[in-house]
């Protein structure tokens, strides 16, 4: 029976083994890697779940995603099912509804609600089926009837509707639960009745996190996944799950995994409560027609048309008939799936054994003919469409030009970049090979978010260079030092990542060896967390500030902002351009080598074709296009892909996956396991020996693809790449697409050419005005000349206003350029300031600088501190008590790697987030202090806010806890709270003495005068992982001694 239902509702063996089983066993959503290269749902030959046409939206730039694990305290899954009452009155009866702690109901809970009768509150079950006759209109009739029944039920006073799809048989198929839910939800909204009733879905077709998310976002109050739960029992009874866990526990695990997954889905949009997510419709629909969307998913974004109700019915029936077969021999197996990894008879993948082999051979032999064969296999999608661009063709309405008139390959190479993959996620060999190859070509490689070993800044003996031209600045700021920034040609702010936009990442401890730990300024063996948001970018004006900071940290580098394609990415790109970015990178959802939860890889974000076209159109419309370079990446594999990207508006292109395949990757998709057989995505020494890539192959790849691109250009009649940019009228839909499913796709919005004004070009032709000339930094550099020239000591004093931002950063750049990461000797430069500092005071300041501020400061004080000393205290004339008043803003010392700071007064929220080396004394901090900290030392001589030390894996914090409130405010998931011993006392004595000396702090003096007594009030916050790692290295050291 379970088996029959599984077939009817479209389960594959992959769904059972790869999705449901891990969730039941481990209580977690499974992880995958290497992106996705299967067709979009609307292009797939395999019957799809309706939710696959829905792509999750996510926050980037204009608001931050939330970390639902480390910041669980602000999240909530609670909800109410029932009548909302009248908003304008305070009536006790409005709360007469069922309070749920979370939205996933097991069968027992559902039955309780089905039987409920309080005298005022009852529920009604509606059957969601349609006639399985395959005739046009059957599904429509069924939905209309269902909506009528729902209205009747509300009018009859029922407070909960249960939408059930169990009653199916050979003549009656289930309506996809998402469709029935959304249809009833919107019908009741239109009737003004939705607030009077809760909707609970009892659905057979609900098993992945994404299915739940879609249901809730389109109106469900709660969900009972009865078939997924039965599947778990069935798998356990048939021995498929080798486990000692009880059935009950397995189901609990599964529900927990769904809940955690839901928190992640809505936190990636920056939403903290399930109640707000309900009905929020935060999806873009890709592949349903306007009629369906307007009627049943009213108000949701959908831009390229697609299937109508009859096609949806046809797809549903193709699953239904697997179970209720009209043939004599019913199929005895579930479909294989093949979505997460290539399988014979499974879903189509662009990178399959054949294309991988051809590409590797072609680049090894530098063989253009083989490369063309590979390209033809990838490009030819007449039989099997896999991408939107596969549906395009070139118009060729311009006269062709001879190939020797096309600009030379050498001038095109500089437009290529490789993807951002960190040293840590991929091996040293793979990482440096890419860098060397790109440097040989004059193109750009990317550090990824893991910092860069300084050895790579020097040229190699043979003239090669391992230096990455693009240095990434990601949320964790690993290894983002003054020197790192100064060494870049381009600084790339990673707002989101294609594989998992809106989510953070994690580098497991076993991948963090000594080398990687050094480059990332962390402890070997201790896992590293990348937060979902940049904590200095919660809004567009914050991004403008970070761009300004980075421009100060390296005025010569281009500042690039990486966005992931989604509905609305164009407006964000326009905002980013107004925030003075030099480059906007639009990444497709499908790329991404990083490890990521499987539901995120496929269901979040859009193909780059949509994002790029929207971005180009919006920038042209806003007269901003010629101020910024547009780059695109995401599963680009051939010259045809590049040419289409250029015509849609990208003048530069990134390639990641294909470059790895050239280096020997065979798409095992095990990057997250450290067992990569090609020696690429692993730190294992034995496996790394198997690495077969070399710079020549990568160089060959880019040469071949450029050659091929030049041939396309000649054919299309373009002599230069610039001429091609945004000439979207050179593209058209392939004629005679008569596939039942996607024949009604309408890509005219993608191929629309936004008319440009006389003054706006279609590619970047102007430089951004970064407004650096007013910065105080130039004066500081002038005054510090003796120090810069011959390390002589200098002092100076200045007045600051809140409009003086990013103080000292330009000076720091000048020092790094001349003296490298060593900077200047301690105390060489001492500048004194009075007044209020603007944002980012002392950001990325390097060794040898002391900035002393009498006054107060705004957000991002000491951001990315790289060795300088910062001192701040209130004006001597102020009469208020310093330790009880605010002196600096939020997110101070974010991503600091070295240096000291002494702060006499209270700091704001998120103090010392991702600190990896600075030593700091402060007199009080707000919520989320020392979050994700991996090194350094923080002394708080006063109270902290909530959620202190969440995700803290290294470094030490000491809290002066006289009121004994700290334990309640600390998140002890990853840290121990220990008493202080003698060595702590010495450490504290040194730092607090300096604090007293530099700032005149009375709190510090009081403690020092009575240190032996006061020591008992200090709590030592000691990360558990760090403690273990120290123990291991101590044991290691003693073993060595023997």
């Amino acid at each position: 029976m379970v088996f029959k239902y599984q077939k009817a509702f479209g389960y594959s063996t992959e769904d059972l083994d790869t999705i449901i089983a891990p969730m039941a066993l481990d209580g977690k959503e499974p992880i995958g890697s290497m992106g996705t290269d299967i067709p979009l749902a609307i292009l797939s030959e395999h019957p799809q779940h309706l939710s696959h046409y829905f792509k999750q939206l996510f926050a980037q730039v204009t608001n931050p995603p939330i970390d639902p694990i480390r910041e669980r305290a602000v999240m909530s899954l609670a909800t109410f099912a029932g009548n909302n009452g009248n908003l304008l009155l305070e009536d006790p009866l409005t709360c007469h509804s069922v309070a749920l702690k979370q939205p996933v109901l097991n069968n027992y809970e559902l039955e309780k609600i089905r039987s409920i009768d309080t005298g005022l509150f009852q529920s009604k079950t509606l059957q969601c089926y349609f006639k399985a006759d395959g005739k046009p209109g059957s599904l429509k009739t069924a939905i209309d009837r269902l909506c009528r029944y729902a209205v009747d039920a509300v009018e009859d006073g029922f407070k909960v509707l249960i939408l059930q799809d169990r009653a199916i048989d050979s003549d009656h198929a289930s309506i996809p639960s998402l469709l029935s839910t959304a249809a009833i939800h919107h019908h009741l909204i239109k009737k003004g009745m939705r607030g009077q009733v809760g909707i609970i879905v009892e659905g057979g077709d609900v098993w992945e996190v994404h299915h739940f998310a879609c249901l809730i976002a389109f109106g469900a109050t709660a969900v009972n996944p009865y078939l997924a739960l039965s599947t778990i029992r069935d798998m356990m009874e048939s021995g498929k799950l080798r486990t000692h866990l009880s059935e009950d526990q397995l189901k609990k695990n599964y529900i927990k995994a769904v809940n955690d997954g839901l928190l992640k889905v809505f936190s990636k949009m920056g939403i903290s409560t399930l109640q707000s997510y309900q009905g929020s419709q935060i999806f873009e629909i890709v592949g349903l027609n306007k009629d369906v969307v307007d009627r049943y998913f009213t108000g949701a974004t959908s831009r390229i048309e697609g299937m109508g109700l009859d096609e949806i019915a046809r797809e549903a029936l193709s699953k239904h008939w697997l179970a209720f077969s009209r043939r004599d021999i019913p199929s005895s197996r579930l479909p294989v799936g093949g979505v997460y990894q290539w399988k014979q008879k499974g879903e189509f993948h662009l990178f399959n054994p054949q294309t991988i082999h051809l590409l590797q051979e072609a680049t090894k032999k530098n063989d253009l003919q083989l490369f063309k064969k590979y390209s033809a296999l990838v490009n030819d999608q007449t039989e099997k469409a896999a991408t939107l661009r596969g549906l395009f063709q070139f118009k060729k309405n311009r006269p062709a030009v001879p190939i020797d008139e096309v600009e030379p390959a050498e001038s095109i190479y500089k437009r290529f970049a490789t993807g951002a993959m960190s040293f840590g996620s991929i091996s040293w060999e793979a990482h440096t090979t890419l860098a060397i190859a790109m440097n040989r070509l004059g193109a750009k490689s990317n550090t990824g978010e893991g910092g860069e070993d300084e050895r790579r800044y020097e040229k190699m003996a043979n003239g090669d260079s391992m230096r990455s031209a693009i240095k990434q600045v990601a949320s964790a700021r690993f290894g983002v030092t003054a020197m790192y920034l100064a060494e870049a040609d381009e600084l790339q702010i990673k707002m989101a990542q294609g594989a998992k936009p809106g989510e953070g990442g994690q580098l497991p401890g076993h991948k963090v060896d000594e080398w990687i730990a050094k480059v990332r300024h962390s402890t070997p063996g201790v896992g590293l967390i990348s937060p979902p948001p940049h904590h200095d970018i919660y809004s567009i004006e914050d991004l403008a500030q970070l761009i300004y900071d980075l421009k100060n940290a390296n005025p010569k580098a281009r500042i690039s902002v990486k966005l992931v394609s989604k509905a609305g990415v164009g407006t964000i790109a326009a905002g980013v351009t107004k925030a003075k970015a030099d480059v906007v990178l639009i990444a497709g959802y499908d790329g991404g080598t990083g490890a990521s939860p499987v539901s995120s890889i496929r269901h979040a974000g859009l193909p780059w074709e949509l994002g790029l076209a929207e971005t180009h159109q919006t920038l042209v419309k806003n007269k901003l296009r010629s101020r910024v370079v547009v780059q695109a990446d995401g599963q680009m594999k051939t010259a045809r892909d590049i040419a289409i990207a250029a015509l849609l508006g990208a003048e530069e292109w990134g390639i990641a996956t294909a470059a790895l395949v050239v280096q020997g990757c065979i798409m095992m998709r095990k990057c997250h396991l450290n067992t990569c057989p090609a020696g690429i995505a692993t730190q294992d020494e034995e496996l790394r020996k198997r690495f077969s890539g070399d710079p020549d192959k990568v160089v060959n790849f880019f040469k071949l693809i450029t050659q091929d691109l030049r041939e396309i250009m000649a054919e299309l009649g373009f002599r230069t790449v610039n001429e091609m940019i945004g000439q979207v009228d050179q593209l058209e839909m392939r004629p005679a697409i008569d596939h039942w499913k996607y024949k009604n796709l309408d890509l005219s919005a993608v191929l629309y050419k936004e008319p440009n004004s006389l003054y706006t070009g279609l590619y970047c032709q102007e430089e951004q005005d970064h407004g650096l000339e007013d910065n105080l930094g130039w004066k500081l550099i002038e005054d510090a000349k003796p120090a810069l020239d011959h390390q002589a000591k200098v002092t100076g004093s200045y007045t600051l206003k809140n409009t003086d931002r990013t103080t000292g950063t330009l000076l720091s750049y000048a020092i790094s350029k001349k003296y490298g990461s060593a900077g200047l000797p301690d105390g060489t430069i001492h500048f004194k300031f009075n007044g209020t500092a603007g944002q980012s005071f002392g950001a990325f300041n390097t060794k040898g600088i002391t900035l002393e501020l009498e006054g107060d400061a705004n957000d991002y004080f000491g951001k990315g501190l790289s060795g300088a000393r910062l001192i701040i205290y209130p004006p001597r004339t102020a009469s208020y008590i310093p330790e009880e008043n605010s002196i600096i803003g939020n997110v101070a010392l974010y991503g600091a790697t070295a240096g000291e700071a002494y702060i006499r007064g209270m700091a704001g929220e998120r103090f010392g987030v991702r600190n990896s080396g600075a030593k700091v004394v402060v007199e009080s901090v707000g919520d989320h202090g020392c979050e994700y900290m991996t090194g350094g030392l923080v002394v708080v001589l006063g109270e902290t806010g909530r959620n202190f030390a969440a995700g803290m894996s290294g470094g030490i914090a000491y809290i002066y806890d006289t009121r004994k409130t700290f334990a309640g405010n600390c998140n002890t998931e990853m840290v121990d709270l220990d008493p202080c011993d003698l060595s702590d006392k010495n450490e504290l004595f040194t730092l607090i003495s300096r604090h007293a000396e530099f700032t005149g702090s009375t709190v510090a003096k009081f403690i020092l005068d009575d240190l032996d007594n006061q020591l008992q009030h200090f709590v030592k916050v000691f990360p558990k992982d760090y403690k273990n790692a120290l123990q291991v290295s101590k044991q290691g050291a003693s073993v060595h001694k023997k």
């Binding site: 909530s76 304008l88 009866l93 309780k112 920056g270 831009r303 164009g570 929207e614 957000d859």
Partner: protein, 467 residues
């Protein structure tokens, strides 16, 4: 959407900004507060943005108390004798520049007032100085006028008068929206109150002071100035999207807007309130019209909930609640308040720093996760300065008695009538104990675990039927 053949959709737009206010703690009115507030605005220029031209801003503005002395004198010039302060309301209207469209709008506005029994006393053209304003902004610059509306004799309560003005604003706006031909400028009511007046436009924060000569007039006095400077993700000029709105200046983003609007739309059909007649309620609806920013929508719902009988801080707590679920340290009385309200109002969720005022109290609140900065300072000469940044108004350090920041989920209110700051704890204690929310929950909330055993056990059925 149908109008645009490409992929762009205005619904995708976002904005962010800097906000702030300067207020007299004791409610003393002075021109200095306005001038200081404008200084605050000017010092946050880097938080706003410029469009494709450096002299076209994304919008900036200021809200002040109705400057009676100034308006009285101005109206004398128009040959009208204004009644006492509080006995007339002021609506700030953005008219199309096309004279025929403008007069059509004006006639509808007049008829709407008449229908509500409100007498129009005078229209005053707000003088403006467009020097230095970018061509893009000027291309859709409206004609700004203030209209003075008498308070009917039978209304003695100020709140009742505000409700009448609210109905007038919604009714006139809807009617004009549905009747008058639309041009690029359109009709819009920036504020309509007897307590406050808004000056705003498609300006940079540096342009506000100069664009409105009124703001430099010494007779224009107020106990506070509430300012806002906007950073939008586009360069399409829209004067009405500038802030402050009628109750708030919002720095933030409502992530769940579509859902919030759907829930509101479906429930507004059933609205009843002792403060509005059935007919008045019909004239008010829809509360939120299309084509607005998320901040404008939030302002609309705040206005409705406030004028239907809840206090402004109470409304803020309903819409932007603290993280109460699972917070073991929270006072049970407060928790009950939040839980009760969550049974019928979902949070308008997202990062937010909101400054709000009804003309008598002025305050600010922050979202549950503290995702926007909000710094304040209290001086010994009874001023409170609150802004996205510290140091935006130069103050002698010796005068400062307190410097603080708004913490996540917390609120801060200056009661200008009582002349004091009300702390978060005090304020919320009072609001949460107005009614016995905890008892209501105990009595009516249905807990899943308390429900009786089901009539049929599907867990058995599952066995019997194999699934």
């Amino acid at each position: 959407m149908a109008s645009n053949p490409g992929l762009y959709n205005p619904a995708f737009e976002h904005d962010a900004c800097g906000i702030g206010f300067v207020t007299s703690l004791k409610g003393y009115k002075s021109h200095q507060h306005i001038s200081d507030a404008l200084t605050v605005l000017e010092n946050m220029e880097h938080r706003g943005a410029c469009g494709c031209e450096n002299n076209t801003g994304d919008g900036a503005g200021i809200m002040i108390q109705t400057p009676h002395e100034f308006f009285f004198d101005e109206c004398i010039r128009l040959g009208v004798h204004l009644p006492a302060f509080g006995k007339y309301g002021v609506a700030v209207l953005f008219f199309p520049r096309d004279i025929r469209l403008r007069e059509e709008c004006r006639e509808i506005f007049n008829r709407s007032a008449e229908r509500l029994g409100l007498e129009i006393l005078a229209y005053r053209k707000v003088p403006v100085n467009p020097d230095g304003i970018g061509p893009t902004a000027l291309s859709v610059e409206p004609e700004t006028e203030q209209v003075f509306i008498a308070c009917p004799d039978h209304i003695s309560n100020g709140d009742d008068f505000e409700r009448k003005l609210f109905i007038l604003r919604n009714y006139a706006s809807h009617t004009i929206q549905n009747t008058v031909k639309k041009d690029a400028i359109g009709f819009y009511i920036a504020s309509c109150s007897h307590r406050v007046v808004v000056y705003k436009g498609q300006l940079t924060s540096l342009q506000v002071r100069n664009y409105f000569p009124d703001l430099q007039n010494k007779r224009v006095v107020s106990a506070f100035g509430l300012v806002h400077s906007r950073f939008a993700t586009n360069t399409f000029p829209s004067w009405k999207l500038a802030q402050p709105f009628r109750y708030i200046a919002h720095n933030g983003e409502i992530n769940t807007l579509q859902g919030n609007l759907n829930w509101l739309r479906t429930s507004e059909k059933g609205f009843t309130s002792p403060y509005f007649t059935r007919e008045e309620m019909e004239m008010l609806l829809p509360i939120i019209t299309a084509d607005q920013s998320d901040s404008a929508c939030l302002d609309n719902i705040i206005e409705l909930l406030t004028l239907s009988g809840r206090s402004l801080p109470h409304v803020m707590m309903m819409l932007i609640p603290e993280a109460w679920d699972g917070n073991e340290q929270m006072d049970p009385v407060k928790k009950a308040f939040y839980e009760f309200h969550s049974s019928f109002m979902e949070p308008w969720d997202g990062p937010a720093s909101i400054s709000f005022t009804d003309g008598r109290i002025i305050g600010a609140t922050l979202d549950r996760n503290g995702l926007r900065p909000s710094r304040y300072c209290v001086t010994s000469d009874d001023r409170v300065i609150m802004a996205s940044e510290t140091g935006v108004l130069p103050v002698d350090p010796a005068l400062i008695i307190e410097k603080g920041r708004l913490q996540p989920g917390k609120m801060f209110v200056v009661d200008m009538e009582k002349g004091k700051i009300i702390s978060d704890t005090e304020l919320k204690k009072e609001i949460c104990s107005q009614k016995n929310y905890g008892e209501w929950l105990n009595k009516y909330k249905i807990r899943l675990e308390d429900l009786p055993e089901p009539r049929v056990m599907f867990t058995h059925l599952e066995r019997d039927h194999g699934f």
